[in-house]
Amino acid sequence: MLTDRPTPGSQTSLREANRTRIVNAVKQFGGLTQIELAGATGLSTATVSTIVKELAAAGVVDTQTTSRSGRRALKVTLARRLGLVAGVQFGHRHLTVALGDLTREIVATQSMPLPPDHRVDTSLDRAALLVVDHLERLGSGLEELLGVGLALPAPVDEATGMIAVRGLLRGWDDLHVGQVLSKRLARPVHVDNDANLGAIAEHDFGAAADVQDSIFVRASYGVGAGIMINGRLHRGFAGTAGEIGHVQVDAAGAICRCGNRGCLDTVVGSAALLEMLRASHGPLTLRDVITRAEEGDPGCRRVIADAGEKVGSVVASLASTVNPQRVVVGGELAETGETFLAPLRDAVLRHVVPNAISPVEVVPAALGDRAEIMGALAVALRGVDVETSPELTSSPRATTLDPEER
């Protein structure tokens, strides 16, 4: 494949580059008219029109006639077959909504900042509106939506769809979150823990794709883990498997939201990390700490490195119990790279039971901050009865979307 790559600068490579630009622009904006595409890519309308025709013939994009500002226009969207699924992720401070087609391609996504301790009614309402809004932006409607996957930063009991531990997500305890959203969208909603969904995504098409037993650690405002055993997610009886944020690390520590004392979250949760920096750095947000650590601020780096070590020692106990081949680390703290990962890895290897045959590997998440939302799309997809051609779901579309390869 490398040998027949056109030489850079040639006519063919230029056209290929333009093709990629157009596909990327369509991906970024969901649906665009040809005129808008020309503006977004900087290509001439004639070039856009030719390439769109080629791409439509190759089945990469769909075109439909609409009108913009009273004029006829050709709207270009990514080709999708059989309908769409939605993924919704609630974090402590953000909401992400993504739409994916049945080939697991994300066709639209948007994030939104949320207030601390956001209210369940407002947040669910916003999520539902965002889903519908993006369906419309793609030129489709609710009837094309087949299912929804919902990620929550709390353990979820799979059987009932309720949050399994009270107090972790303030105000969300008594509401059947899945049912509320399902009523709004008139579609089945599958609710799960964000770390569990991250584990599924990293197992299906991420850093743990080639192993059967893995642990996904999600270090964010709190810490959680998803455990894959034999290629299947282990949720436990009521969904609290992998809740490493509530493993006791300090018997004399502070009281946790869950009601126990000295949980890992009270030591490495965002509140604890920010409190440590308050005297020296003033009030910061978790994002600030991560940005500053990346910029080389020694205090912020130290706080994140120490958190990595603490998380690592707890992950080591879990790894000794489960014996995974690989530990995949995601979540916001992992965005600092080796600052967080190196101490975590050292702590895991120091505390885990030594294994002569295959020592556990500790690697960063391959899907980055998209792991959870991709997991949500994956479970939404699993809930859909696909009566059509099975080869479609078994061979996910190449993410590069290079028409030559298809």
């Binding site: 900087g42 500002s69 900042p113 207030p115 956001h118 965002l130």
Partner: protein, 256 residues
Amino acid sequence: MRPSPTLALRGIDKRFGHVQALSEVDLDLYPREVVALVGDNAAGKSTLAKVIAGVLSPDAGLIEMDGAPVTISSPSAARALGIATVFQDLALCENLDVVSNLYLGQERRIGRRLDEEGMEEEARSILHSLTSRIPSVRTPVAGLSAGQRQSVAIARTLLGSPRVVILDEPTASLSVSQTAEVLTHIQSLRDLGHAVVLISHNMTDVHAVADRIEVLRHGRNNGSFVGADASYEEIIAAVTGASPLVPPDHRARRTA
């Protein structure tokens, strides 16, 4: 501990005839911080914004930039000081495209010719840095949605790389996904190192992005809250006057 504020207002008074719009208002703005200005109708939020933007000059009070007293006599003086404002009406030209709107009155030239490519390039990169979803920088503004217009207006403030950005009701009458876009812009502005003032009625939006919430009531400061700690109830109480005025020394302790 903290560096001196980028912009500090001390004891600002402003009256229109018999209406005392602002009375001894204090406000400090720091880089990389979103300050939300909340209050009831006629609490003086927009008047304060106009004082900072140089549209109105205060009757009394002191304005300091980096600790040195300044006079903001006109909007262009404010711009020169690095203060950019997006007012509620956005002030965009419907018939002009995005690039022309961004550079209106401050066009870039090569010799006598307009530097169209250069402006287009920079416009695209600014919109990109705001993670904006405007597909084409050559679309006339008339063809954009309310949220997209808002992002053009915000992008325009970024051209002179200002130090203070003031946004007056940026999420009013926007759909949820447009609100999501604007809130994401506000976060990007903050992460780019600007001091951001957000004037809004929507408590959810305010809480989502504000680092500090300053309450105005009848033209006076009526409380200052750390965004992450303050509950809706506390802030609503300060806005409506249900809670007594927070004394200044208590305020200083809270924001420290």
